[in-house]
Symmetry: C2
Subunit: 249 residues, 2 copies
């Protein structure tokens, strides 16, 4: 497809100029039709400009959603944790020219726990429309499956690595569970998942509930809620598997 | 369809016994294909027992997803804010008999901000599998569209109504934004949305950013981030429209 054809394709499908946030499957083993609305694929057909966390995985995603996609007719700009924030403005140029832009992260929902949020912040500052789309979020799906309070919850990202700060954070989370009835959600570097569970069992009250939500939407999906006293006797192996941790009482 | 046919249908599609959490469109004007994966509809075909927040809206949802659904072959048990928690155990009886159960709330993702969480908590306690499915969450989509920190965020539900408690909560949220870089998310009774924005403008620093995310996935979807100083001069009308509020700096 040449430039003119690509342009025609774009005007034919008439996707209005906005920053579209496209979620990506969380697992290599989940089928797009099981985790993404059909409407997302239709929208993608009308977009030629993409801001992506990783070009290779974005191309693979687009081919997976629609094998007939002509990848060479598309433009990809990388926005990852190394991108200087001063470069984000220029990435939104197609919007000023009336073209839609798609944001694609490596897995899950763009702008929730990845650099896509910077593109959204600039788009908001400049008054462009931002359109989030539906897709899998491991944080939200873990919360749904935990049985914990969904009226009040906090996602804390990674725990601090340094011991003193880490202990303080765990105590603070415990306090917010008890005083505010706020579910506490966090993640760990996957190769340390087992060690984290052992640490939680050692440092928090045994009657606190821990939900371990692992390989969400994948072949080995498992979402298990138990008191820490039961986790400390349980057999498990979550190492190297993407996992979300949730605490509540 | 009689009992035997219904049973046959169930065994044919062979959905394994688990508590499935089915998200529901947020807006009457959004098409299911734009907000729900096709896989959810396929799963629904294999389920006969449902725990629902409201029978009428659950039936309407099932008919909307698949007009050929024989509603009379399905069983509905109500789990809403008035249901005694002691009744939840009995609702899970089909799981013990090897049948899957679907949970359907009024809008959005079950168990996030509705009574479905009680059914999940009991299922977890009894060791049944829980399977959250993908669908629209106004909280998550508002966060994506805000451009705010998605590595650390808290959903606070409704603000307290009583003035002193409300002021304390707003101050606490401001502190968590400044000290912890934690995005603060909350909601208001829809007819008070405009008043809430005016209140935020009066009681919080003018440079704080407010994102107002309204009618997500609906015809009049609007997600706007501005400093409070700009909101205080802006013209808007969010009353009676489902709206999510987010604060950050």
């Amino acid at each position: 497809m040449n430039e003119t054809e690509a342009h025609n394709r774009e005007t034919e499908t008439a996707v209005r100029a906005a920053l579209y946030l496209f979620p990506v499957p969380l697992s290599a083993t989940s089928k797009p039709a099981d985790v993404l609305p059909e409407g997302n694929a239709r929208l993608l057909k009308g977009i030629r400009h993409f801001i992506v966390e990783n070009v290779r995985s974005a191309r693979r995603f687009l081919k997976r959603v629609d094998p007939s996609t002509d990848i060479n007719a598309l433009t990809f700009t990388v926005l990852d944790e190394h991108t200087p924030r001063t470069e984000v403005d220029a990435m939104l140029a197609p919007l000023s020219e009336g073209f839609p832009i798609g944001v694609i992260s490596e897995a899950g929902c763009p702008a929730v726990a990845d650099p896509g949020a910077d593109a959204v912040a600039v788009a908001q500052r400049k008054g462009f429309d931002v359109v989030p789309l539906v897709g899998p979020s491991s944080i939200l799906m873990a919360l749904m499956g935990s049985g914990f309070n969904g009226q009040s919850f906090a996602f804390n990202g990674y725990l601090p690595i340094e011991t003193a700060k880490r202990t303080t954070r765990l105590k603070e989370m415990e306090r917010r569970i008890q005083r505010e009835r706020q579910t506490q959600i966090f993640i760990e570097t996957p190769y340390r998942n087992n060690r984290l569970i052992a640490e939680l069992c050692r440092s928090l009250p045994p009657n606190l509930l821990l939900c371990v939500a692992s390989d969400i939407t994948g072949d080995r999906q498992s979402i298990i809620t138990r008191p820490l006293s039961a986790w400390s006797k349980a057999t498990y192996n979550y190492d190297k598997t993407p996992t979300i941790f949730l605490l509540y009482s």
